[in-house]
């Protein structure tokens, strides 16, 4: 278990108003994998490095298990090499002057509890076997592929049987195909060992795939946290909705409130939407619609379609993204079909799917633009 209270890290040597990590409270339950998700510069990697002890916090407390790791207020700081952790770095950090097995043996021979060469080798081999690399044990590290190096790095982080596994964007240096395999490997090992794990990433698909729980971060703060499927299905914050790739957003007003649903009136018509928080009738909301929830058709058979024109299309292989201008807004619609056959300038009707769009209270309207800078970094 990891417990973080009021963790704060200032940017070194700069007088910036924002902190790199700005008073984070976080609990990572025993045996769970929690993802820190956010755009670059949101403080997720800094948080991980603070937990590892690679950086010193300016304020706050970190506990691993029941032991206090650092508390600047009390002058407590346990050095990295005294913490019960294993770390996997973005760049693998596999030592190039050693073989795979030597890399994995290092923590057993240089750590706080040391063991003999044969015992260390035996355990290192077990760890390599676990990540499916036993046959490459005596290869020099640079002779391994990126994916293999990252698995060596994982084995190395685990041989010492740490209480906590810390993964800093472990997949982002890998090719697309390998990424999925190493991701699956990480998740399967983590669940088999039941090790408490923090996984840092900027990729929402990765986060959804591996996590028990997702923590979304922005500007050094936690935006929201929850089970992966909840974060995906019904995000509570605009930032999360945008970051999860729900790119269509339309302003609207609540017509009829409900428990989890509300009837929203938009510029082009009405739509039943999910509401993560209570939405009083008459309040202003932003409605977020997934591209795959917008269907396109040439005829408006349902009578609910919004009339627009096709601007351009992007082909993804398994789907098409059509950008359609409806009034002043450009909407993105995703079609999982081989051939759609729409071209620039074609008139088309956009039909929104009911009960999948999310209505989130419009904070800008509510507070008169005071949080106007909130949106600058969502695009990444």
């Amino acid at each position: 278990m990891i417990e973080v209270r009021g963790l704060t890290k200032r940017y070194p040597g700069r007088t910036v108003t924002r902190n790199a990590v700005d008073g984070i409270d976080l609990e990572i339950p025993e045996g769970k994998l929690v993802t820190l998700l956010g755009p670059s510069g949101c403080g997720k990697t800094t948080t991980l490095r603070l937990i590892a002890g690679l950086e010193r916090p300016d304020a706050g407390e970190i506990r691993i298990g029941s032991r206090l790791m650092c508390a600047p207020a009390e002058g407590v700081f346990v050095g990295v090499h005294h913490r019960p952790i294993g770390v996997v770095f973005q760049s693998y950090a596999v030592w190039p002057h050693m073989t795979a097995v030597q890399n994995v043996m290092f923590p057993l021979q240089s750590g706080q509890k040391r063991m003999g060469r044969t015992e260390a080798r035996r355990r290192a081999m077990e760890a390599l076997e676990m990540v499916g690399l036993a046959e490459f044990a005596d290869r020099p590290a640079p002779a391994l592929s990126g994916g293999q190096q990252q698995r060596v790095s994982l084995a190395r982080a685990l041989t010492r049987e740490p209480e906590v596994l810390l993964l800093d964007e472990p997949l982002s240096n890998l090719d697309a195909g390998l990424r999925d395999r190493v991701r699956d490997e990480i998740r399967s090992v983590q669940q088999r060992l039941g090790i408490t794990t923090v996984f840092v990433t900027h990729d929402q698909d990765e986060a959804l795939a591996v996590s028990d729980e997702v923590v979304v971060m922005d500007h050094g703060r936690i935006v929201e946290r929850g089970q992966a499927q909840d974060i995906y299905r019904c995000p509570r914050e605009e930032f999360t909705a945008r970051f999860m790739g729900i790119s269509n957003s339309l302003p609207g007003t609540v017509q009829e409130g409900g428990q989890d649903m509300a009837e929203i009136s938009l510029a082009h018509g009405r739509l039943r939407c999910l509401t993560p928080a209570a939405a009083p009738v008459g309040s202003r909301v932003n409605v977020f619609i997934r591209p795959e929830s917008l269907r396109l058709s040439r005829k408006d058979s349902s009578g609910r379609g919004w009339k627009g024109t096709v601007e351009f299309s992007i082909y993804h292989g398994d789907c098409w993204d059509y950008h359609v201008r409806v009034g002043d807004t450009l909407l993105r619609s995703r079609m999982y079909r081989e051939k759609v056959g729409l071209a620039h300038g074609d008139p088309v009707f956009v039909v929104p799917e009911e009960e999948t769009a999310i209505a989130i209270a419009d904070k800008i309207a509510a507070s008169d633009g005071a949080v106007a800078d909130k949106d600058e970094s969502w695009a990444k």
């Binding site: 206090l68 002058g75 407590v76 050095g79 090499h81 005294h82 950090a93 190039p96 240089s110 790095s153």
Partner: protein
């Protein structure tokens, strides 16, 4: 317990371990407990001591009424007013600046010209120029000077004999022009290396863009290439100037016989005289120091940040090559001429004189006298073997100390965020700006005047201290880029594996740095082995090093033995240089 079978949850519940906080950092005591901070403090002190002492002592000596005397001492500007007021001093300034400026311009023009041919044209046989570039490493300055003195000795010099045979006037080497010639030949290869670095690091797409804009090649050279290279040229001129103004051998061996004095020879001769005028020496020393510092500072500013490592880093790409057509044979001629003049002539002269019992110019009749007796003589010349041993000991010790010290400095400046690391970096480069002569005299003054518990004057230690100080910036030049290439994560991964800092340094950094460490070590050995400008002031009976012995044997007129010893030294240094080359090449390829 194996990894797979381990049961979870493993850690025992609750209750903070009372011993934990004791391991943590607390206030000042904690600061000292982190080995890295202690290291920073120690390294900073050592580097500061080495860097500041010589120059500062020189400054103090120039400001004291008496130095090294029992009488009362007070502060005064007397030495400055007296020295700067004499016409003699300004003749000295004129000579020195003329000598250094002419050398700097000539060597830079030749060096950059050749560099352009090598880096940016299709001139054949670039090999000649590249081998010639190794000369200053392989042929110590003192040997180069000796060889040129033999080539152009007024009556018997081989080239002068040749000139007379074709009815041309002989060239008097013992003149300002002679000094410029010899020193230029010695430093041109350095300018060539700087030029090669500058030309091959230039992004050729800038020139291609100009060509694509319709500019003819000559115009591109004038408006783009020449403009881009200008800072590097100016920087090279200044560097050659500083190097020339602060070395000993040419002014003493070539200048003094022709009564042409410059700063360095004046200092040396003033220190030989009795009673020694320490104050005047101090004033001249401070003057050179100021000139050198200014020159180096300007040179740095011109070549921009990171210029210090320019010569050994270098990107993988090959800049586009200009085709010279028929003109490339002219380029080839330039290579061959440069090779012959800078390498072949001096080396052949050394070999030739080493094979004759007494010096005579090359001729058919002289061939009958060829003998190897001079090589045997090396063993019987008093003090010679001792001086070789002294040189080896001091050079190897200095190499070892420089390697350790500069790897620690490099670690602190590159890998930590410790406060004061910028200052440390600055301190470690100070010795570059302190001319070797000032270094020698400053160290001499310091250890003569300070009531230190251990008496170092007259020991080999004092020479090692000088060589370490001189070698430190060069050591850093090899190790800093090597250190910078190692990703921080490799250290962090070791710490996260539970390894303490010293263990991390030993198991991760040292093995990864082996090529840079070895190159730094060997390069320092070469620098120390050739060094004479500081050693000439620091040796005493019994602590002579080989460069000093060569100078003395030369002064005694035993040319053949000097030549034989020279040949041996050149072979020895050539072998070390070959190893360094091999190492740096591998190290350049293996790690990205």
């Amino acid at each position: 317990m194996s990894l797979i079978s381990r049961s979870r949850p493993a850690p025992p519940p609750a209750l903070a371990d009372p011993r934990r906080p004791a391991r943590s950092t607390q206030g000042l005591r904690g600061w000292f407990r982190d080995p890295r901070n202690l290291l920073l403090a120690v390294v900073a002190l050592v580097v500061a001591y080495l860097a500041i002492v010589p120059a500062a002592t020189m400054g103090v000596a120039s400001l004291q009424s008496q130095f090294l005397s029992t009488g009362p001492v007070h502060w005064t500007f007397r030495h400055y007013t007296e020295t700067l007021g004499t016409a003699d001093f300004w003749t000295l300034v004129g000579n020195s600046f003329g000598y250094a400026a002419a050398t700097a311009v000539i060597s830079t023009v030749i060096g950059f010209g050749l560099a352009y041919l090598v880096a940016r044209t299709d001139t054949p046989a670039k090999f000649f120029a590249q081998v010639a570039a190794l000369v200053p490493l392989i042929i110590p300055g003192i040997l180069n000077t000796v060889a040129w003195a033999l080539l152009f000795a007024p009556h018997t010099g081989a080239l002068n004999v040749l000139l007379r045979d074709v009815h041309l006037p002989a060239f008097d080497i013992y003149s300002l022009a002679g000094m410029v010639l010899v020193q230029s030949m010695h430093v041109t290869p350095v300018a060539f290396l700087m030029g090669t670095a500058a030309f091959s690091q230039m992004d050729s797409s800038l020139e291609e863009a100009a060509l694509a804009s319709g500019a003819p090649p000559l115009r591109v050279f004038r408006t783009i290439t020449a403009r881009l290279i200008r800072p590097a040229v100016l920087s090279a001129v200044l560097l050659m100037f500083v190097q020339t103004i602060s070395t000993f051998e040419v002014p003493q061996l070539i200048g003094v016989p022709g009564r042409t004095f410059v700063f360095v020879s004046r200092i040396y001769n003033a220190l030989q005289a009795f009673p020694t005028d320490y104050g005047t020496v101090g004033v001249i020393g401070v003057f050179i120091l100021v000139v050198a510092t200014l020159g180096l500072w300007l040179s740095r500013r011109l070549s921009g940040p990171g210029a210090g490592v320019q010569t050994i880093s270098g990107k993988g790409y090959r800049p586009t090559v200009t085709e010279l057509g028929r003109w490339r044979w002219l380029g080839l001629a330039a290579f061959v001429l440069f090779f012959v003049v800078a390498v072949a002539l001096p080396l052949l002269m050394l070999v030739w004189s080493s094979l004759l019992p007494g010096y005579e110019p090359p001729s058919w009749s002289a061939l009958h006298h060829l003998t190897l007796s001079n090589y045997r003589e090396i063993w019987h010349t008093p003090g010679l073997v001792d001086s070789v041993r002294n040189s080896l000991i001091t050079a190897v010790l200095a190499g070892a100390v420089v390697t350790v010290l500069s790897s620690l400095v490099a670690y602190i400046t590159v890998k930590t965020k410790a406060r004061g690391r910028g200052l440390l970096d600055g301190l470690a480069t100070i010795p570059l700006a302190v001319p070797s002569v000032v270094m020698g005299v400053g160290i001499l003054y310091w250890y003569l005047s300070m009531p230190l518990p251990v008496h170092l004057y007259g020991t080999l230690t004092i020479l090692v201290i000088a060589f370490v100080t001189i070698g430190l910036p060069y050591g850093l030049r090899y190790i800093v880029p090597g250190m910078a290439q190692i990703k921080d994560e490799l250290e962090e991964a070791a710490a996260a594996s539970g390894a303490s800092w010293p263990r991390t340094f030993w198991r991760i950094y040292v093995p990864l740095l082996v090529p840079s460490l070895a190159a730094a070590f060997l390069y320092t050995v070469i620098v120390a082995f050739r060094e004479i400008s500081a050693a000439i002031f620091l040796y005493t009976q019994g602590t002579q090093v080989v460069s000093v012995t060569i100078y003395q044997q030369w002064s005694n007129g035993s040319y053949p033995v000097v030549a034989a010893l020279g040949v041996v030294i050149v072979v020895f240094l050539a072998m070390i240089v070959a190893i360094v080359r091999l190492l740096t090449r591998r190290f350049g390829l293996n790690r990205q």
